[in-house]
Symmetry: C2
Subunit: 441 residues, 2 copies
């Protein structure tokens, strides 16, 4: 059978991994694809930059247009990040008759709707297994394997950097800033890690999964997103003491005809599988009405795990599966969407931490405000000398008089909690920061 | 688009689950499949048996031949177990031009080769997601999502009954027999649970996965299979004390050009994901040379999880994916097979438990025999009064003089251990049973 001709756009970490797989394992890949897969063009920004492997003579170019114009190319691997020029490039590639494989989650989250519509009109496919969960085949699971089910919930750890930082903080007893610096030195975090640690990356991936699972396009602005960048070591330690691990969790639940949806640091009971995902690994738990709960875990990022997903997508294009699957993905279609449950109506148990002056009536004042807002208290931790034990207020002159107070509430809504918090913030005995985290059901 | 016409053969637990999904969710399934899926025939043994749901008028029959002869039927869901008449029936269905979806692992393990060859010759497909891991899409993961990788290892908990029993024994401190009886009363174990608890069921599923992952047909007789039916509560407790959970693990490793392969109760370190799979859940861990390790978990059996996998297969047939995927599955092909590493050459650390007379020199004698066979000891547990603590010898008149001795070895081969065990069995101070279990790396 004639080879499938592929252009690689972008030769960064992931692009290099894909090139290595295709160049070093041509027989394996041809066997699985039923035909040879040949890289005929590689687009880079800088033609002179030294590479860690040898590309076939004459295939490097710095002109994307040369791919667009080449009718001999079947598939474009679009491996550059960000919105522009990636978006325009993708339209041009589709218009020129190419199937596209991409890992660009930001682009799909933002412009998936128009890209998918156009691809369908043109009879082309967009494959994007690598955009969510790296090497974990979660797009295939949701888009193909779970098709007999109505999915009813997704709970997921989708950002390896955040999970690595949380794991390290707890294991080493160090602060967020310390661990972040080390993570950057190890190369696990970007120089600007903000999209990873502030929850945006998790939210973008969740938007893609939600569209696959529920056929609903949810804008990032329509649900609560909070990262791990406001957490202190103390919170991880108190949660641990209470029997929970703190994870940056993306959560979607189908509640009647509403989607409850949020990305937040969340307390997960120690014995649950999601609590046990350590380091840079990801995990996605799916609830289906027939299958019950299934879990998928593995490396959510990194050169070769991501390359594994991209090459699997490429093989799907070669075999012809992508052309069958893509039009049937219930994704980014014009259809009545499920509305997102207003953030204030989301009900959860909550972990609350306050820094309070160590004097009479403080707990009574807090309990009174919570009670007046119908929030009942499930448990309280207030240790003697806890301030120094968990590192709070260390070095602070007033440390002796400020103590942490941790309260676990029964189920309440985010709206009620918000009102209570506004009232609490008026208490002169409370010092910032005030932390609240939901508890996973 | 015209409906896909389906015949259901077998209306037991799983067949009823499939019928329910297809009859209760026609719109959902038509949307995912791109066309309606219609049950036109249901074959049962007893036409008069009361059913828990209403089938469309006139579709029940007790004659499989009526399916074979009906050219209007596109797909047969072959949901009866055992080898015959399932095997003959499957050939007849394929010959009559039908695609087949099945959950029959015993049949595929035993006769997959001839069935798959014939299906390929006839241009038909056999889909079997439900045969391994129930609702977990592990066949799709190995056969499609991991195609960029050379898989290098599979470690799997594939029998829910065994895992439920092991979990319950440890949680409740009860004996194997007690828990088995309760499990049968709950309906989680068959009246004759022997294929579940003796490791055969796990081994059959592993044979199917090995063929998918390594293109090698391994007969059940060519690798070691041991079940949980010889384990005592004491072993679970000692393992726990040493930091391990005992799991019935199916293990395959690619070691150069050899396959190491076995099914045995195995010690798994507490912190590893496989150790944390409780109750009737299954988990499969796959190592790929690009992706690293990925994990898949969920319900490995049960009516609706299995039905979920079967209906997903059916949708794959409807969409046309099965016709593309099946010929490319590197399974049951005529090709040079990877040889199975002789059992004696498999290297592991081992957990050994002996019941010994409580008198001088016993440990020295055992250590001497192990040492002469080049097996070095990593750790020893011998508690005072341990006999009653872990329930060994309770009620036995000689209980006071027999104590358990637990030894963890460093890495050695099964062959060396076997020789040592022959010599150990000659010691007059040892009483049966003598237990040995490998430790997962």
């Amino acid at each position: 059978m004639s080879p499938l001709k592929v252009a690689l756009i972008g030769l960064g970490t992931v692009g290099s991994g894909v090139a290595k797989l295709l160049l070093e394992q041509p027989n394996r890949i041809a066997r699985r694809a039923g035909r040879p897969i040949e890289i005929v063009r590689v687009v880079v920004r800088d033609l002179t930059k030294p590479r860690e492997f040898t590309l076939p003579e004459g295939i490097l170019t710095d002109r994307v247009q040369s791919i667009v114009e080449d009718d001999g190319i079947d598939v474009a691997l679009q491996l550059i990040g960000g919105i522009e020029p990636a978006r325009e490039m993708m339209f041009a590639l589709l218009e020129s008759g190419k199937d596209v494989v991409t890992a660009n989650k930001a682009l799909l989250c933002e412009h998936g709707h128009e890209l998918f519509s156009r691809a369908r009109e043109l009879g082309r496919s967009i494959s994007f297994e690598a955009a969510v969960g790296g090497g974990i085949p979660i797009v295939a699971a949701v888009g193909q394997s779970m098709t007999a089910n109505q999915l009813t919930a997704i709970e997921a750890i989708l950002n390896g950097t955040s999970n690595f930082i949380l794991t390290e903080m707890l294991a080493s007893g160090r602060s967020y800033d310390d661990v972040l610096t080390q993570t950057q030195e190890l190369g696990y975090a970007e120089d600007d890690p903000s999209l990873d640690v502030d929850g945006t990356d998790t939210a973008q991936k969740l938007v893609i999964l939600v569209d696959l699972a529920f056929g609903t396009k949810v804008p990032l602005s329509s649900f609560s997103i909070q990262g791990i960048d406001t957490l202190e070591l103390a919170d991880l330690l108190y949660a641990d003491e209470l029997g929970y691990t703190v994870k940056l969790l993306g959560v979607v639940k189908l509640i009647e005809r509403w989607l409850e949806m949020h990305v937040r640091p969340t307390l997960v009971r120690h014995e649950r599988p999601l609590a046990k995902v350590d380091g840079a690994f990801n995990m996605i738990a799916l609830d289906g009405d027939a299958v019950g709960r299934t879990w998928y875990s593995g490396s959510g990022a990194g050169q070769m795990p991501t390359a594994s997903a991209i090459v699997a997508d490429l093989i799907d294009v070669a075999v012809g599966r992508a052309a069958l699957t893509f039009p049937r993905l219930n994704i980014w279609r014009e259809q009545p969407s499920l509305p997102v449950l207003p953030a204030d109506e989301i009900a959860n148990r909550y972990y609350l931490r306050f820094n309070v002056e160590d004097r009479p009536h403080v707990l009574a004042d807090i309990a009174d405000i919570l009670g007046r807002n119908d929030i009942s208290i499930a448990s309280v931790i207030q240790h003697e000398a806890a301030a120094s034990q968990h590192g709070i207020g260390a070095g602070d002159k007033t440390a002796r008089s400020i103590v942490p107070l941790v309260i676990m509430t029964h189920r309440t809504t985010a709206g009620r909690l918000k009102i209570a918090e506004t009232q609490l913030d008026k208490l002169s005995t409370l010092r910032p920061p005030r932390i609240s985290m939901p508890v996973a059901e």
